[in-house]
C-alpha cells in the first residue's frame, strides 16, 4: 500500500492494468494519445506503451466516439471512450441514452454494451457555464446506465477497474477538482476492484447522516469536522461512490441510526440526485416519528465565469454545515445536540 497517490495516477494505473490484463480493452477520445496524453494527462504514456491502435486519438466527434464505442462493445471489445468534458456528452445524448442504455433491452438480451464513458468536469475552475456542469442527474434518470463518481484515489482506481469489467454501459465521471488530491492506493499490479453500487461510510457519526459523492464528499468531511468542533455534532458521512445504482441499504441504515439526513451535491439542486434520495428515504422511513431531511445543491442558475460569483452558485462545506444546523434545529429532539443547536439558534 502507498499512502500518497494522486487521483490522476490512480486512474491511469487502473487503465494501464486493465489494458495489460485484457487485450479487448482499448481507449479512444480527443487528444488522449501521447505526447499529449489527454487534456488532463490521465492517459499519458499509455499510447506509447500499448500502441496507437489501442489508444486512439479521434476526430472531434462525440457522437462517433460514443457510437463507435457502442458498436465495438457489441462485438465483444471493452472500449473506454473519453469525452473531454461531461458537458460535451450532451452532443452524444442519443448514443448514450437511446443506444448504449437500450440495446440490451431492444435486442431481447442478445447484445450487451460493456462500454465505459470516462468524462471529467465540474465547477471550481472558473470554466463558465458550458464547461463546469455537473450533469449526473441526466444519466441517473436513465434505466440501463450506471453512473460512477468517486471521491478518493483508492475508490477511483477500484471503481474504474470494476467499470471496465462490468457488462453494462457505465458513465465514469471524474470531478476535475479531485485530480490533484492524494490518498492511499495499493501497490501497482495488486489487483483489487471496488464494487459498483456500494456506498462507503467515510466517517462514522450518530447525530446526522450526510450523503455525498465526488468532491462534495471531501466538503462533507470538512463540514463534519467543523460540526464536531463547534456544535458537538457527530455527523456520519456516506460517500455514494456509485450514483446509479445508489446504495439505498447503506443510506437507510445510516439514516435509521441518526434520524436526520442531509444530501449534498454540487449539481443544481432542482431535479438533482439528492431529490431522489431524499424522497426515497422519506418514503421508506414513514414508520419513524421525527425525521429531518434536507438537500444541498447548486442554485438554479448557470455557473458564472467570474470566480467570485461562482462561489455563490456552487455549494461547498459552508452550505453543508448550515444545512445540518438548520436540520437539527428544526428537529430539536437530539438531546444535548438539540439543545446546543437551539442555543446557537437563540444566539444568532
Amino acid at each position: 500500500m502507498r499512502d500518497n497517490v494522486l487521483m490522476r495516477e490512480a486512474l491511469r494505473e487502473a487503465l494501464d492494468e486493465e489494458m495489460a490484463r485484457d487485450e479487448r480493452v482499448f481507449l479512444m477520445g480527443e487528444d488522449i494519445a501521447d505526447p499529449m496524453g489527454g487534456s488532463y494527462k490521465i492517459t499519458l504514456g499509455l499510447s506509447t506503451k500499448y500502441g496507437k491502435h489501442r489508444v486512439r486519438n479521434t476526430p472531434i466527434s462525440e457522437i462517433a466516439i460514443v457510437g463507435a464505442g457502442v458498436g465495438a462493445a457489441i462485438t465483444g471489445m471493452r472500449p473506454v471512450a473519453e469525452i473531454m468534458y461531461v458537458d460535451f456528452l450532451e452532443v452524444a445524448m442519443d448514443q448514450v441514452v437511446s443506444q448504449a442504455a437500450k440495446i440490451r433491452y431492444m435486442s431481447g438480451g442478445q447484445l450487451s454494451v460493456p462500454l465505459v464513458i470516462r468524462c471529467q468536469g465540474g465547477p471550481g475552475r472558473s470554466a463558465a457555464a458550458q464547461h463546469s456542469q455537473m450533469l449526473e442527474a441526466w444519466f441517473f434518470h436513465v434505466p440501463g446506465l450506471k453512473v460512477v463518481m468517486p471521491s478518493t484515489p483508492y475508490d477511483a482506481k477500484g471503481l474504474l477497474k470494476a467499470a471496465i469489467r462490468d457488462d453494462n454501459p457505465v458513465i465514469f465521471f471524474e470531478q476535475n477538482g479531485l485530480y490533484n488530491t492524494r490518498g492511499p492506493v495499493p501497490d501497482p499490479g495488486e489487483d483489487y476492484t471496488v464494487p459498483l453500487g456500494k456506498a462507503d461510510i467515510k466517517r462514522e457519526g450518530k447525530d446526522v447522516t450526510i450523503v455525498a459523492y465526488a468532491q462534495m464528499t471531501l466538503f462533507a468531511l470538512q463540514a463534519a469536522e467543523q460540526l464536531a468542533k463547534e456544535d458537538g455534532v457527530e455527523a456520519e458521512v456516506v460517500d455514494l461512490r456509485t450514483v446509479s445504482p445508489w446504495d439505498k441499504e447503506t443510506v437507510l441504515r445510516s439514516f435509521r441510526k441518526t434520524g436526520a439526513l442531509v444530501v449534498a451535491h454540487q449539481a443544481v439542486r432542482q431535479g438533482g440526485v439528492g431529490a431522489e434520495i431524499a424522497a426515497t428515504v422519506y418514503e421508506e422511513a414513514l414508520d419513524l416519528v421525527d425525521v429531518e431531511i434536507a438537500r444541498v445543491g447548486a442554485k438554479f442558475a448557470p455557473t458564472p465565469f467570474a470566480p467570485h460569483l461562482e462561489r455563490y452558485v456552487i455549494p461547498g462545506k459552508d452550505e453543508i454545515v448550515a444545512a445540518v444546523r438548520t436540520t437539527l434545529e428544526r428537529g430539536g429532539r437530539f438531546g444535548a445536540v438539540g439543545q446546543a443547536a437551539a442555543q446557537r439558534a437563540g444566539a444568532v
Binding site: E30, D31, P35, M36, S39, N57, P59, I60, S61, E62, I63, D87, F88, V91, G124, R125, S126, A128, Q130, H131, G177, N180, T181, Q215, L218, Q222, R269, A278, A279, V291, E292, I293, A294, R295, K299, F300, A301, P302, P304, F305, A306, P307, H308, L309, E310, R311, Y312, V313, I314, P315, G316, K317, D318, E319, V321, A322, A323, T326, R330, V348
Partner: protein, 377 residues
C-alpha cells in the same frame, strides 16, 4: 483544389488586388492592432490579470481579412479564437478583453453590432448560422452571415448538419474555416481522410473555395465574393483558409510537447502582417512612419481597453441570476430575493460574513451559508 493567393510569401503581387491601396493600408492597420491586442492579452494572462486566453497569433489575415468584407448589417459568428474578427466587426475592444477576464460585461455587443457570443463548445455555431441566414432572408433583409470555425470543428455532426441545412435552404451564409493545422494537439491529418475541407462543399452542392489564409488580400477577396453570392440568392459558400496556429491552443497549453517548432517554417506561409507590409511598401504605400503611427495607435487603443476593464466595479453577486430568463418565473425571482436577503444578513456585523474567498479545490466553495429547504415534515 486551387489555392487562391493574391500576394506571395514575400508580399509580391501574383494577381490584381481586390482593393485599393487605401483599403489595403486600413487592413494592415487592423492587423497591427489585432497583433497588439493578442500580445498584450497573453502578457496579461501571464501576469494573472486575466484568465486563460486563446491567442490567434499568425491568423490575423483571416480575422481581419474576412471581417473586413462584412457590411455593418451582416452577422458574425465567432469562436473563442475569433475575438479579433469580432472587434473588426465592431465589438468594443474592452468587451473582448473583459470576456477573458471572466466579466459578465463581456461580449455585449451594442445593438447595432451583429456579433454572436463566441462558440466554445465546438461547431455549435454552424447550425445557428444556417438558421440566422434563413431567418434574415425570411425577414426580407439583405444581410448575410459569416460563420467562423476551425479545422477540428469539421469533424462534428453540427458541421455536417448545419452546412447541409444551409445548402438545402440556400441560406445566405459564408462558412469560413480557419484550417490552422491543429485541434489542440491533433493535426489536421487526423481529422479527416479528405485532402482538404473545401472539397467537401461539392458533397453539399454548394460553392467551395480554398485560400491562402495568411494572405489578407486573398481572404478579403474570397469572403467578399462569397458574401455577394449569398446576398444575391446564390446560397452558401464553404471557404477553407489555410493558416497556422503559431501560438499554443490556449495559454494553458504547451505545443512544444506535441509539434516540431520548425514546422511553421516548413509550411512557408509567412507572417501575414509582414506579407501585407511588404506588398504595400513595394507599391510605395507604407513606410516606417506609417508603421510607427499604426503601432502607436494600436498600443494606445489596447491600453485604454485594459484600463477600462481593470476599472470595472467588482461583480455584483446578484449577477448570478441575470439573463437566465427573459420574463422571470416567480420561483426564480423568489430565489434571488432569498439570496440577497441572506447576503445582507451575513454582512451584518457579528454574523460572520461570507467565508473563504474563491472556489479553491479542497477548500470551501465559500459563499454565505444558505438555508436549504428540507423534504421533511
Amino acid at each position: 483544389m486551387e489555392l487562391l493567393r493574391v500576394i506571395d510569401g514575400e508580399g509580391r503581387p501574383l494577381r490584381e488586388a481586390p482593393c485599393t491601396d487605401e483599403d489595403a493600408r486600413a487592413l494592415l492597420e487592423r492587423m497591427i492592432f489585432l497583433r497588439a491586442f493578442d500580445e498584450r492579452a497573453v502578457a496579461l494572462q501571464r501576469q494573472g490579470r486575466i484568465g486563460t486566453y486563446a491567442p490567434y497569433r499568425g491568423m490575423e489575415a483571416c480575422q481581419a481579412g474576412a471581417a473586413s468584407a462584412l457590411s455593418p448589417e451582416d452577422w458574425l459568428l465567432p469562436t473563442y479564437r475569433d475575438h479579433g474578427a469580432a472587434m473588426i466587426h465592431g465589438l468594443p475592444v474592452e468587451e473582448a478583453l473583459a470576456y477573458w477576464a471572466g466579466r459578465v460585461e463581456s461580449y455585449r455587443a451594442p445593438a447595432e453590432v451583429n456579433v454572436f457570443p463566441p462558440a466554445v463548445p465546438i461547431a455549435t455555431q454552424i447550425p445557428h448560422a444556417a438558421g440566422i441566414g434563413w431567418g434574415l432572408r425570411r425577414a426580407g433583409s439583405a444581410a448575410a452571415v459569416l460563420c467562423f470555425f476551425g479545422d477540428g470543428a469539421t469533424s462534428e455532426g453540427d458541421f455536417h448538419e448545419g452546412i447541409n441545412f444551409a445548402g438545402v435552404f440556400r441560406a445566405p451564409v459564408v462558412f469560413f474555416c480557419q484550417n490552422n493545422g491543429y485541434a489542440i494537439s491533433v493535426p489536421f491529418s487526423r481529422q479527416t481522410a479528405a485532402a482538404s475541407i473545401a472539397v467537401r462543399a461539392a458533397g453539399y452542392g454548394i460553392a467551395g473555395e480554398r485560400v491562402d489564409g495568411n494572405d489578407a488580400l486573398a481572404v478579403l477577396d474570397a469572403v467578399r465574393r462569397a458574401l455577394q453570392r449569398a446576398r444575391e440568392g446564390g446560397g452558401p459558400t464553404l471557404i477553407e483558409a489555410l493558416t497556422y496556429r503559431v501560438g499554443p491552443h490556449t495559454t494553458s497549453d504547451d505545443p512544444s510537447r506535441y509539434r516540431d517548432p520548425e514546422e511553421a517554417q516548413r509550411l512557408a506561409l509567412g507572417d501575414p502582417l509582414e506579407r501585407l507590409r511588404r506588398y504595400l511598401a513595394g507599391r510605395g504605400a507604407w513606410d516606417e512612419a506609417d508603421e510607427a503611427r499604426a503601432q502607436e495607435a494600436a498600443r494606445a487603443r489596447v491600453a485604454a481597453a485594459v484600463r477600462a476593464v481593470e476599472a470595472m466595479a467588482p461583480p455584483d453577486p446578484a449577477d448570478i441570476f441575470a439573463h437566465v430568463y427573459g420574463a422571470e418565473p416567480l420561483f426564480f425571482q423568489e430565489q434571488r430575493r432569498r439570496f440577497l436577503a441572506e447576503l445582507e444578513s451575513a454582512a451584518r456585523p457579528g454574523a460572520g460574513g461570507p467565508a473563504a474567498r474563491g472556489p479553491a479545490p479542497g477548500g470551501a466553495a465559500g459563499g454565505p451559508a444558505v438555508r436549504t429547504e428540507g423534504g421533511g415534515r
